[in-house]
């Protein structure tokens, strides 16, 4: 799975069809992407930091990694949905992008999620921008067994794409730090509860979000002898394994490249104390 998607990665200027504010600094970008070769759950693309514009501008310089939130094949390509949080210059410029403008896309990139065994329950733990990496996984995992999605945020309004998860007809549990919805506290506490449930011993845990959240999720799962699979969100320059900028240290020494060996990695394969 690792090689194939990279082998088919393309570079294309995609047309912005919509770029909608969804509250809580969240926005949904709909891109018409010609020749999109298709992607697996957990793969991502590099997007130009803002529209290509009437003339070239070299600041900001680097593309920004974004999960393929959802891909709908269509004649001659696909429509990609990107769910993003406006956090800095690149995403602010993306937020200002108008329908009809072009955004450069390089993808699909990286290694996606392995699916659960048949009958195995999947616990998907998401927070912050990481939620966007989990939607396609949740959709695909349904065919294998029960899927429970645990989403965390500071406040209910910060949650990304919650209605889409509801529409999947899977079980959705929410934790908010301000108690505005669901469990009042951290999403990793919801994970502890879920793993304490009868029959949870076979559960497979997935986590994507802020590093401290993924690290904690891994601790919780591993403490109970469960496997935890994470999707990392490191800074990237290239996205396809050539700048070596996205390296995360392995416990046995050496590094994994998040963009090439990941972004999906087994939590046990990451030296969390040295991961930004």
């Amino acid at each position: 799975m690792s090689a194939a998607p990279r082998a088919t990665a393309i570079r294309v200027d995609a047309e912005v069809r919509a770029n909608v504010d969804e509250g809580g600094a969240n926005r949904r970008l709909r891109l018409g992407v010609p020749d999109w070769p298709g992607s697996a759950p957990g793969q991502f693309a590099m997007l130009s930091p803002g529209p290509l514009g009437a003339a070239e501008r070299f600041d900001p310089l680097l593309p920004r990694p974004m999960a393929v939130y959802r891909a709908r094949p269509e004649a001659g390509g696909a429509e990609l949905e990107i769910l993003y949080k406006v956090s800095g210059r690149g995403t602010r410029l993306l937020a200002g992008t108008q329908a009809g403008e072009k955004v450069r896309v390089v993808g699909p990139l990286g290694v996606g999620f392995p699916l659960p065994e048949a009958g195995q329950r999947a616990l998907l733990v998401g927070g912050g921008t990481g939620i966007a990496s989990l939607y396609e996984l949740a959709a695909a995992a349904r065919s294998r067994g029960p899927v429970v999605v645990l989403l965390g945020a500071r406040a209910a309004g910060d949650l990304m794409g919650r209605e889409d998860f509801v529409a999947l007809g899977i079980e959705l549990r929410i934790a908010t730090e301000d108690g505005s919805e669901g469990w009042s506290g951290r999403v990793t506490e919801l994970l502890e509860h879920a793993l304490a449930e009868p029959g949870a011993d076979g559960d497979l845990v997935y986590a994507c979000g802020p590093t401290p959240m993924m690290r904690r999720a891994a601790e919780v799962a591993v403490a109970l002898g469960r496997r935890c699979i994470v999707s990392l969100e490191n800074r990237m320059a290239c996205g396809f394994g050539v700048c070596l900028g996205c390296a995360v240290p392995r416990p046995e020494g050496g590094f994994a490249l998040v963009c090439r060996d990941g972004p999906v990695l087994d939590a046990a394969a990451v030296r969390w104390e040295e991961t930004p």
């Binding site: 310089l61 680097l62 050539v242 050496g254 590094f255």
Partner: protein
């Protein structure tokens, strides 16, 4: 129209179908770009710098963005010279000239790496990365001390007759002096520039943005400095120069040729645009055709001074 243009150049004994190489460390080992374009459409590649043993490199964060540029401190990460020859070289198309880049922390080790590359038929030439800190001189770069640079070039020159390029550090008072040293010690060409030593700060933590503290600045931001150094070096030596620094388009590359570079290397641009190198090659050919140059080589060193006057 562009069919009429002869794009071939010779870089210190390395015959290139066009003057566009990819810069070491920005093109991986080459095969990563195979999905994006036919590698044989560019002049050649300079592979990631190699050390004697495999190296792991620095802890993250390793990269950060700056105005029209980026900072990096990857460290010496590479698969090691032997694995490169055994595993990476065979993945590259036969018609693609490959320059092996070498860096180490001691002269003897540089020489040893060169020895191991010397005989390899798939390798068209060597590039000595002199921007590496010399451990014994307390972190000063080889390329920052004429006498140190002279000894380095002399020793590696001994190891092989194959085309030998020396990649200079831009963090020096006088690049001409360094260029003359390389020429004097028998280098076949000079590559410049490597990254400018730089630093940026994360104001949330008041820490350097890079784990390593200092890093190397690359990208369009440094292009005017690179053009200046290429022009100065081309005035100081007769051996060919490979121009590097912030090249994103054919026009950018032509500026280097006009300033005296025989060929160019595309670096950071490969990250923003995996097809940058081939588009640069096309752009050079287009410019030559539009300006009525039958041979791209004829563009080299065509910078016209202004009439002096007050």
């Amino acid at each position: 129209m562009t069919a009429a243009v002869d794009c071939a150049v010779n870089l210190g004994g390395i015959a290139l179908r066009n003057p566009v190489l990819t810069a070491s460390g920005t093109f991986g080992y080459g095969n990563e770009f195979a999905p994006f374009f036919d590698l044989e459409r560019i002049g050649g590649i300079v592979a990631k710098s190699l050390t004697l043993e495999p190296r792991a490199g620095n802890l993250p964060p390793r990269i950060a963005e700056t105005p029209a540029g980026m900072l990096n401190a990857i460290g010496l990460e590479n698969v090691g010279v032997d694995a490169f020859v055994a595993e990476k070289l065979p993945l590259l198309p036969a018609g693609l000239p490959v320059v092996a880049s070498v860096f180490e922390t001691e002269i003897e080790r540089y020489a040893e790496v060169c020895k191991r590359l010397a005989g390899v038929p798939r390798i068209s030439g060597l590039e000595i990365n002199a921007s590496c800190p010399h451990v014994k001189s307390g972190g000063i770069e080889f390329g920052q001390r004429p006498e140190l640079l002279a000894r380095l070039v002399r020793e590696v020159r001994r190891t092989t007759p194959m085309p030998l390029l020396v990649k200079l550090s831009p963090n020096v008072t006088d690049i001409r002096e360094m260029a003359r040293v390389c020429e004097g010690e028998g280098a076949d060409g000079i590559s410049l520039i490597n990254t400018l030593q730089a630093l940026d700060v994360d104001l949330a933590t008041r820490r350097p943005v890079l784990r390593n503290g200092l890093g190397g600045l690359s990208g369009p931001a440094i292009r005017p400095v690179a053009l200046r150094m290429v022009w100065q070096a081309s005035q100081a030596v007769k051996i060919p120069i490979c121009g590097i620094g912030g090249i994103l388009s054919g026009e950018d590359a032509v500026k280097f040729l006009v300033c005296g570079a025989t060929a160019v290397q595309v670096g950071t641009a490969n990250y923003l645009n995996p097809m940058a190198a081939v588009e640069v090659a096309e752009g050079i050919e287009r410019y030559a055709a539009e300006q009525g140059f039958g041979r791209v080589a004829d563009l080299v060193g065509t910078l016209r001074p202004f009439p002096s006057g007050r």
